[in-house]
Subunit: 282 residues, 2 copies
Amino acid sequence: MEISGKIKEVREISSNWKKQGLSVALVPTMGYLHAGHISLIEKARKENDKVIVSIFVNPIQFGPNEDYEKYPRDMDHDAEACKNAGADLIFAPEPNEMYPSANLAHVNIDQLGDGLCGARRPGHFSGVCTVITKLFNIVSPDRAYFGQKDAQQLAIIKKMTGDLNFTTEIVPCRIVREADGLAMSSRNMYLSPEERSAAVILSKSLAMAKQMMEDKESDPERIKEAVINKIESEPLARIDYVEIVDAETLKQTEHINTPVLTAIAVYIGRTRLIDNFTFKGE
Amino acid sequence: MEISGKIKEVREISSNWKKQGLSVALVPTMGYLHAGHISLIEKARKENDKVIVSIFVNPIQFGPNEDYEKYPRDMDHDAEACKNAGADLIFAPEPNEMYPSANLAHVNIDQLGDGLCGARRPGHFSGVCTVITKLFNIVSPDRAYFGQKDAQQLAIIKKMTGDLNFTTEIVPCRIVREADGLAMSSRNMYLSPEERSAAVILSKSLAMAKQMMEDKESDPERIKEAVINKIESEPLARIDYVEIVDAETLKQTEHINTPVLTAIAVYIGRTRLIDNFTFKGE
């Protein structure tokens, strides 16, 4: 496995692979890899000839009061994990390699970025779309792998890829969870032991919502209310949002009869965690 | 020469050329080709193995009160002109091929799009950047050819291409003029014979500004004033803007000592025309 921080080098390696007729996968990450990331790499490994993992904590997708500086980084661990999962190349650029001068060009998304995390994190999805555009242009991957934990991000990147005529196929990957149900996240490392126990309230409240839908509750307001009550029963939890939206348009839904995304963001102490599930109906 | 309106087909043709090791040029146009466009195609012809001309009146770069509907179109003439200039392929998609559903992803540019035409045409450069991104993703050109008449567009596309890590080289091409100095433009066809005579005021006023700079006038305000007076001496002319800016940043300049762009937009009757020149100093 190779590691490179240089755009030119990674472009050449990927381009040479493609010239040989090999399929190339990209797994874009911000590093500090956990079992969720590993599942993406392993899926990419199975479905492609070559797998590139990008590790880049992208400054332009963090707000001024967010955790860019303290976002966890551990390149030695990540390199080992990528190697074990079968990656062929890690692309780990420095910020000034990706943004050598003021980055004036941005990729934005209408509508899909307005609600949920987009409403709480202004500029976040523009930063995500911009860096993914850059990575796609550097690597020209045949397929790119994204976790369903970031459901809004996934919907946005799918739409962006189509709208801008990228040829990359966007492959969604299932949420990987801890034994007690907590969705894997690099930010879980911020949690104290007490907070870690409390954090299970996210997946528990979603499991309850799912059960209500399976029991034919079709009023999203009732389900949201139950989820809110459940989360508020946990003293360390503070709700950022609880939303039930159309799974494709991400617009508010008044009746549960199409695939719906139930997405939540909850602070556990000072750590903001997200989780979601999609209910496809019958 | 082939003509196709289908993204998939054009992508395949271009991709096959590139697999054979041939260099591919893109000349993006809105059709109604004049000698200015032809000069781009001929330059592309000399410098590349294959030349693709796109002909697409891009709806999203027109404002609601602009001339999208009446913008001139003449595919038969354009096909003949492309063939004579040595193009290998025309890509002429219908609007619903380029925008099959609501286009939610947009490419925007900060700063460079704020002044000049960008200030008068909100959303225009976002529409341009978005369609150029789409065309680059469809054709993957080695080089793309743009006229210097659209100086702000050229500066923006250069910056966008770098910021988003496209590999396409942006090739600027000189303004082609009528015998009396009027810059070639598809919009010149809107002019009545009387307006056509009056329109020479654009190039004349710029020639005067250039002479002032060569005569060491270094105060942009004095030059702007002279240009404004000159244009206002023409009864059919109405100034939209007269600006002297840094040629790279497009920011106002207070002293002429770096390459500066003098750019003007002038209504002749109801037709808005633009022209410009770049003064590099000594």
